[in-house]
Structures are given as C-alpha cells and as structure tokens.
C-alpha cells in the first residue's frame, strides 16, 4: 500500500455527517456508536477518555479467566453480525482448549455484501473499539495472533487501523505480557484484493493462506481446523466491536436491549430511495417504520415504498406491506421469509423496476462466483442470461418456470452459500412480484433461439 500517498490524498469519508445531525435520533439506541460523533475518537487517548480499554483492563487486572470471558459473552446473547447470526460465545467455546497448535482470531472486515457499509464506520472512525474486542476475544480463545482481513478497496480504513494498532502497541495493550497478564498478542492488518467470496469465512481463510478465495467444506469447522489447519475463529467487525461494552457492563446488561432471542443492538446501513441514507444503530426488535421514518427521514421525494431488501442483497425481498409492520430482529424478519443478514438495507420506491434490480444483482453474483462449484458457476450465469433476455424483449413464456428450475438446482448444492444468495432472491422476487416479470413476458413475442443470450457478453465487435 502506498501508505504515505494515501495519507495525503484520502479525505476521511463523511457519510454519517451527511446523513445524521449531531444529536442522536430518538429512535436510535447507540451502544457501539455512542461516541462516534466525538472528534478524533479514532485516537487512543480520546477513545480511552470515553471508557475505551476499560474492558481490557477489567479482563486482565480483574484476572478474568478465558472461560469467564466466554461465559460473559454467552450471557449477553450476542449473535454474529456478519449475516449468519450465530451466537458468538458458543463459537468461541468450540475452540479446543489444547494448545498443541496455535489458535487464531480473524476479524472479517471484508464487508462486500451489496448494501452493507456499517463496518466501515467502525473501521474508519472507532477502530479501537474493534481492536479492544479482538484482544479480549483472542485472550478468550488463546490466540497469540489475530488478523484483520479488510477488503482491499478500504485503503483509508487500512491506514486508520495500522495507526490504531501502533498506538495500542505503544500503550501496552498489544505485544508481550499485556497489562502484566502474561498474555502475548500480535495483531496484523491484512488487505484483501477485491473478491466478494472472501467475506465467506472459509473463503477468507483460503485467501489469508495466500490462495484464491475458495471456500472449504464444513465440517471441519474453522473452530477446529481453520487458518493453516489450526483452530480459528472468524468474527464480523460489528460483533467484535460489541465485546468491550459487554465485558464492561456485563452480559446481563446487554440483554436488556433487544428481544428474547435477538439481544442487543444492530447497526443498519440504509441505502436506496430514502431521504437520509446512512448508518443507524437500533435495538433489535425496533419497528421498521422507526428506521425508515425517524432515522432515514422517510421515502425520498415522498414516493411510496414498493419493496425492501433487509439484510444485504442476498436477502429475499419483502413487499411494502410485509415491511411496514415488520420488527427488525432475526426472528421477525425470518418469519416474513427473509433474513436480517448483515443489516444492509436497500429501500426501493414505487418507480423501481424489480426485473432490472434483480438483473443487476444477478450480474454481481455471476461476476463474483468463485467458480468452484458447478451449480453456482453455471447457475449464476444462466440466471443472468435469462434476466438479460427479459430486458432485451426476448423473454419466453415459460421463463419463470425456467428460473425456478435453475435456482432449485442451485439451492443447497454448493460448498458455500453464494449460490443461495442469488437463488433465494430470484425465487422471492418472482413469488412476491410476479406481475413485474409477467409484463416483460407479455411485451415479448419472441420465439426460436434466443439472440439476446450472448449479446451482452464481450466478443468480436
């Protein structure tokens, strides 16, 4: 990385400043973002003045054992914020206690799910919160080394992290014998190089091993056999950033927020047709209307909501009706047939053409399929081609059936869930908005071989 030039040329991104006034919005419940507006909170002294690294001191000076740390995180009910929602404390407890192999903690900062830009706020603005969480997590699982796998495009974030880690070393929070505990720990920023699949935990591990980011079959799970075939925990940035608060205030305090099964708060990154797109932190279980109206200022230009994608582009779509009375927690969204995922919410207004939207996503997933499993490599391509024929007035009467067949042959038939990430949206768009697709079919009276199928691919001009 051209570190020096980056420092000079990159202005800090100011995405929240444009979206949010200084005073917190009533509907928000800021735990992670409580001090996000404090100037220079990315510096260690400012972060420490707001209670930063107190959790770390509590662990080491209070002589908490790794098991006590894990129990506290278990008690909080914290679930992985990257997409799968797996309980974090349980994940940590799966790491074997034996020390015959080194253990690793990896922070998944690959944030590349379309619609998701929440981790970037933590990485660029409050990096120490995640770093503190990583040191505590590493102590809990007995890791002497941790890596922050940050997507290659986040150059500014990588520079901020490098600087923050340097500060943490100087303060004695990293390195040898941290706070006199006898625990040694080193932390490394590792930049990806542009591949969506590296956000999948086993793809991330392959990538960190210096290979193409091909996911691996599970089991064995990374907790047993991960990076370099050693026990490894991969946690999302937001998950790790919640750890200091939980340790400082106790797991029980965290359970006061959220619902019974979805504890705590969640950061939502909202984009699309709203007045104030941005990152907002709400209690899990908050109503969707609070996020849409109170935080985001409602629909852009006063238009009507047509549909909403709740958890990143791989989440099945929800109709306006389903959205408006939906609560934002893992269970409520799952009950509507979608998923909370990464919390990357995309709002679509009444003017949006969902066939075009789906085609855009199909292009993304086809481009990003790693090519390892045939159903995904070929299926994503076919979905893209079929949807392309829709927009080229070349659709066929039985194309909806064809799309269903193709996606049925993708679902659950691959090593990782990238295939499902487009197959599920395709099925949900067709199921919930059939008229959009049918109107395209009605407009096309083409027969015979499809000319459109290859017309969008680069070829001889």
């Amino acid at each position: 990385m051209r570190t020096s030039s980056v420092k000079q040329t990159i202005h800090g991104t100011n995405m929240r400043a444009m979206a949010i006034e200084q005073k917190p919005i009533q509907a928000e419940k800021r735990i992670l973002l409580e001090h996000e507006h404090v100037p220079n909170i990315k510096q260690i002294d400012v972060y420490a003045s707001k209670g930063g690294y107190e959790a770390l001191k509590k662990v080491f000076q209070g002589k908490m054992t790794p098991d006590q740390v894990i129990d506290e995180v278990k008690a909080s009910g914290l679930r992985g914020r990257g997409g799968a929602g797996f309980p974090t404390g349980n994940k940590w407890s799966f790491v074997p206690k034996s020390k015959d192999k080194p253990h690793y903690l990896l922070s998944n900062a690959d944030e590349s799910e379309p619609g998701t830009f929440k981790d970037r706020v933590i990485l660029e603005k409050i990096p120490h919160m995640m770093i503190e969480g990583m040191i505590i997590g590493s102590y809990a699982i007995g890791a002497a080394r941790s890596y922050i796998y940050i997507r290659g495009e986040y150059t500014y974030g990588a520079v901020v992290l490098e600087r923050a880690i340097e500060e943490a070393y100087q303060a004695g929070f990293l390195g040898k014998n941290i706070l006199g505990s006898g625990f040694d720990h080193d932390m490394v920023v590792h930049r990806g190089a542009g591949a969506y699949i590296c956000g999948e935990e086993t793809g991330l591990i392959s990538s960190l091993e210096g290979k193409k980011g091909w996911p691996k079959l599970k089991p064995p799970f990374p907790a047993v056999e991960g990076y370099l075939r050693c026990p490894t925990v991969v946690n999302n940035v937001e998950t790790l950033a919640a750890v200091p608060w939980i340790i400082r205030n106790g797991g029980a305090a965290y359970t006061k927020f959220g619902t019974e099964k979805s504890r705590g708060t969640k950061m939502w990154s909202v984009s699309g047709d709203v007045e104030r797109p941005g990152v907002y932190e709400l209690e899990l279980g908050a109503p969707f209307t609070a996020l849409l109206n109170d935080c985001c200022g409602g629909m852009k230009n006063g238009r009507k909501l047509k549909a909403m994608i709740p958890g990143g582009s791989s989440a099945p779509i929800m109709t306006a009706e389903e959205s408006m009375n939906c609560k934002l927690d893992y269970e409520s969204i799952a009950a509507k047939g979608s998923m909370l995922g990464s919390g990357g919410m995309i709002i679509l207004d009444e003017t949006r053409d969902l066939v075009q939207v789906l085609k855009n996503l199909a292009e993304f997933y086809h481009d990003e399929s790693c090519g390892q499993c045939t159903p995904c490599r070929e299926g994503t391509g076919w979905v893209e081609k079929i949807l392309h024929s829709f927009t080229e007035k070349d659709a066929r009467k039985d194309d909806l059936e064809l799309l269903k067949t193709v996606t049925n042959n993708m679902l659950g038939r691959t090593i990782c869930v990238l295939a499902d990430s487009i197959a599920m949206p395709v099925q949900s768009y067709i199921q919930k908005f059939p008229e959009e697709f049918e109107s395209y079919i009605a407009r096309s009276n083409a027969t015979g071989p499809r000319a459109s199928i290859y017309s969008h691919l680069p070829g001889p001009q």
Binding site: T13, F117, A193, L228, F364
Partner: protein, 179 residues
C-alpha cells in the same frame, strides 16, 4: 506466442529489470515476519509488487513466485482470481465506477458511460496517452453515499455529473480533486 523476435527480446529485457527497490525489499522482509506461513504473505507481497511495477506482467509474476518459493502458476491463479490485481497496464488515473445496486440506482452506469465517451474509450480500456482507465467494479461499500467512483485508491462519494466533471478536468491537469 512470441514468434516476433522483437517482442521476445522486449519481454526478456522487462524480465531482467523486474526487481524490488531497496525500500520495497525491506518492506517485503517486514511483511514476511507477520505470518506463520510464507505463502500467507502472498497477497500483501502482490500489493507491494503492483505498487512497485504498476501491473502484474508475466515477468512480475515470475519474480514474485521466485521470492515466495512458489511456482509461477500458483501466483498466476491468485493474481487472476482477485479483481484488484491488474492483468494489463492501467492509466495514471484509474476511474472505477461501482455499478452494483445502490450506486446503479443513483445512475452510476450513465456516469461511467459519459466518462467513457468523453475520453473516447470503452469500459476496461485505457486512453492512448496512458492517462485514464475506466472500469466497472462491484459494490465498494459506499451504498449510503452512492454513487461512488474510486480513482486509484481514493473514494469520491455522492457523485454528481458536475462533481465528476471537475474530477476529470482536475485529473487531466495533474491530480484528481473535487474542490
């Protein structure tokens, strides 16, 4: 492939000139200390090589392979897997437009098209003077401040046709800037 002797000799001369500077070599040694396996350092070393040499020519791939105790095919498969490694030379100002959903909804496609036609190139191409390359890239994680264009390593967010114009003009004059 290299039937043309002139091309072949050019390739050889390029190969012999591929060597890290002293500073890059020092950085390379530092990178190796951060990993428990040498191969894990491949991505950071490739980033370093791209900063040093501009793109991943066959000679650069051979050089990195030698440094990393790998064979060239192992390095090549990694280089071609990741979008950020350039498989051919790119211009001085590399305009990378995000074309995924949230940016696309804000018109990033049109902005990319207008940039291409203004520069007289197609997507993925470089201008004859080597100043500009225009590429379409996937989601850059800037959906709330869409549309975004990444010029080399810098994000320019909440792009408008007017801002884009200033960005292109200032790039032509030397360094990209939105006043």
């Amino acid at each position: 492939m290299n039937a043309n002797p002139e091309q072949a000799s050019q390739k050889i001369s390029h190969l012999s000139s591929v060597q890290f500077s002293d500073a890059a070599m020092k950085e390379f040694q530092k990178i190796l200390t951060r990993y428990d396996s040498k191969r894990s350092a491949l991505l950071p070393v490739l980033h370093l090589a791209q900063d040093e040499f501009g793109w991943m020519s066959p000679a650069v791939i051979d050089y990195v392979a030698k440094l990393m105790d790998l064979n060239s095919a192992q390095v090549l498969e990694v280089v071609t897997f990741y979008h950020m490694f350039h498989k051919k030379p790119v211009g001085e100002h590399h305009f990378q437009f995000c074309v995924t959903l949230s940016c696309w909804m804000q018109g990033s496609h049109q902005m990319m098209k207008s940039t291409c036609s203004r520069l007289g190139i197609r997507q993925g191409e470089t201008t004859a003077d080597g100043k500009f390359t225009v590429s379409a890239v996937e989601c850059l994680g800037s959906c709330g401040s869409a549309p975004v264009v990444q010029v080399n390593e810098t994000y320019y967010e909440n792009l408008t046709p007017e801002k884009l114009n200033r960005l292109i003009v200032s790039s032509k004059e030397g360094a990209p800037k939105i006043p």
